[in-house]
Subunit: 377 residues, 2 copies
């Protein structure tokens, strides 16, 4: 059995049903593509459930499809090929979502980025109806990911997807679009230049044969491929019931890191992301750095705890600290009152107040001492 037998068998089988149809992916995982194809051809009509597929098998022309695709610069990558990414095998172990599941039989690819070089790629997905806030954050996160040498995976849709692809390209990085139609179809149409650019410098990928049209079901099965090709998924903005939440579900089923970006609670397009965090499914992330940390190998990039700017008070010694904490914010207090509050002697308090005055942290007025503006912040 040659590599080509395998490839032809997988193309043929992929034409018998919808991508991710668990009946088909399950049979292929169990029997192998070449054997299943032969079974269907020889005695398919007698196999329970498979009758309909067998009938269809007679009319498909996989070799012709492969040849035409090859002429159009489109390759069909299958398990066993050097380019086949191991990460897709996790799909065969993950629980299906509404009878969609299993590893793709193969992936049609247009573009120079190789699927076996997606190590720790990050999927950046979200709402088609993104806000400018969401699009900006998606672009920034994608740029950080790309800048770190990692691939950004998304779906080429309006809104968050396109912002993510463009952010990665702007950072001079690699990015891959996974489509719910053939890789030769510009969908959505206004993204034709983007898709051509990705085909030239990144990759456009699909489970569907060239020429296939997008359907609702195909968006859902496509989402599982996005989740499976990436080492982790960031949901940037997603309203309740957004398709991005389906990608999130797949990410969880694959036990990959699921991340979500918060937004104003007044924004409906952030509801889905907030829900993912509230339910404990997703980790809240606020920057590309957070994303790299959560999706990288340990210690790869440690997210810093946010710190305020250093303040003048940070430089004080222990005694000065104790004195400044005893100085009133508003109405001035005399030195003996401050000494009592601080629990220190008069002499040392006067000395500390002098030092604090020189640092501009306290003010001396006729009725005593109080904090200067700089120390109140």
């Amino acid at each position: 059995m040659s590599r080509d037998d395998e490839r032809v068998a997988r193309v043929a089988l992929s034409l018998l049903g919808e991508p991710g149809d668990v009946r088909l992916t399950g049979l292929v995982a169990e029997l192998g593509a070449v054997r299943l194809r032969r079974l269907l051809a020889d005695e398919g009509a007698n196999l329970e459930l498979a009758g309909e597929m067998a009938t269809r098998l007679a009319s498909v022309e996989p070799e012709l499809l492969l040849e035409r695709a090859g002429r159009a610069g489109i390759r069909y990558v299958v398990p066993g090929d050097e380019e086949w990414p191991d990460c897709l095998a996790d799909l065969d172990r993950a629980e299906p979502v509404q009878r969609v599941g299993g590893a793709p039989l193969g992936l049609w690819v247009r573009g120079p980025v190789r699927l076996d070089r997606l190590d720790r790629a990050v999927a950046v997905v979200g709402s088609r109806n993104a806000t400018t806030y969401g699009a900006d954050v998606a672009a920034e996160i994608a740029a950080s990911v790309a800048h770190a040498g990692r691939v950004v995976v998304s779906g080429a849709a309006f809104g968050i997807d396109v912002a993510a692809h463009r952010g990665a390209l702007a950072a001079g990085g690699r990015t891959v679009a996974v489509l719910a139609c053939g890789v030769d179809r510009p969908y959505p149409t206004p993204h034709r230049p983007l898709l051509d650019h990705l085909a030239a410098e990144g990759a456009v990928v699909s489970e569907l044969a060239p020429g296939c049209a997008p359907t609702r079901l195909r968006f859902l099965s496509r989402n599982r491929v996005i989740a499976a090709l990436a080492g982790g998924t960031v949901v940037v903005e997603a309203a309740a019931r957004s398709g991005a939440l389906n990608t999130a579900t797949w990410t969880s089923r694959l036990h990959r890191p699921l991340l979500a970006v918060p937004g104003p609670v007044t924004s409906v397009t952030s509801q889905g992301a907030h829900h993912l965090v509230r339910s404990g499914e997703a980790l809240l992330v606020t920057s590309g750095r957070d994303v790299l940390e959560a999706t990288g190998v340990a210690g790869d990039a440690l997210a810093e705890e946010p710190r305020g700017p250093q303040r003048p008070r940070d430089r004080l010694d222990h005694r000065q600290q104790r004195v400044i904490e005893a100085v009133p914010v508003a109405s001035p207090a005399p030195v003996d009152s401050i000494a009592r509050t601080a629990g220190l002697g008069l002499v040392e308090v006067r000395a500390a107040l002098g030092a604090l005055l020189r640092m501009g942290l306290v003010e001396s007025v006729p009725t005593g001492w109080r904090l200067a503006e700089a120390a109140r912040a």
Copy 2:
């Protein structure tokens, strides 16, 4: 020993050190206030660490202070009083923060709301430099809490605090301000009308005797009282190093629910809140309903999962669902192609397409069928 001995002793002791000084609160918790006062008066100068306090004890006049406060409508509530809230006792068991800790020796109160009626009060705290977004969300959450008959606790500061108090008042609810100075002092000065309003209809509370000025240290000890009087704390906006994060720390040490409101990741005033969620210290909340659920008794108010608006597709039967999922989004497909994709017979697919057409979910064009605009959302 009368209630008044206890009260006088606690006033006297409270004047010896800063509120929340663990040396003092620890000794009172261990020895009792009356006994500690007697010890300090009789042989204080010989007690290790307490010498300084004993010296100061001779000069305080607690009876005079209580009498004057009473004339100004200010009461001093101590343990054993019916009004003393049990929830403060948790402070004696919580780990101190930077040598501040322990239950207050007593609380000065101005206003009709009784401290023993704060059951499941909610603290709403945050940045002084709040954005309008933060202030709006604080007011809305406070209004929801107040509307549910629960008390809103905050610190009467600029920004989130004042928005929370006002939100509660606007909803006709009860709200309590805990100050870092005497309850007779209008601090910050522009909030004098608000504080007078709270004194008339809610309560203004402080660990510090009337007349005392606010200091940095007193804001920190005050925060522990806010956290301890409430059944849970919501941090609405807080930059890194915001004082609200100190209230958050106290809430965690008291094992009370800590909640944080997300905001744009581009907003520095949301950094602290995001950090609390990321670190797992706080639960993300997006509405008053979320807050009530997280701080109420189980089943009190169940937060609904966010749901998108009902869509026409939701009403379809199983067969119609299967057909609509096979209809292309963009380029039309003929009925036989749709039947193949759906895995259904031609006759039943035609019937389903007719029904979908009547519902406005698909369009019929010369070259076949495609999804109508309404079904693409």
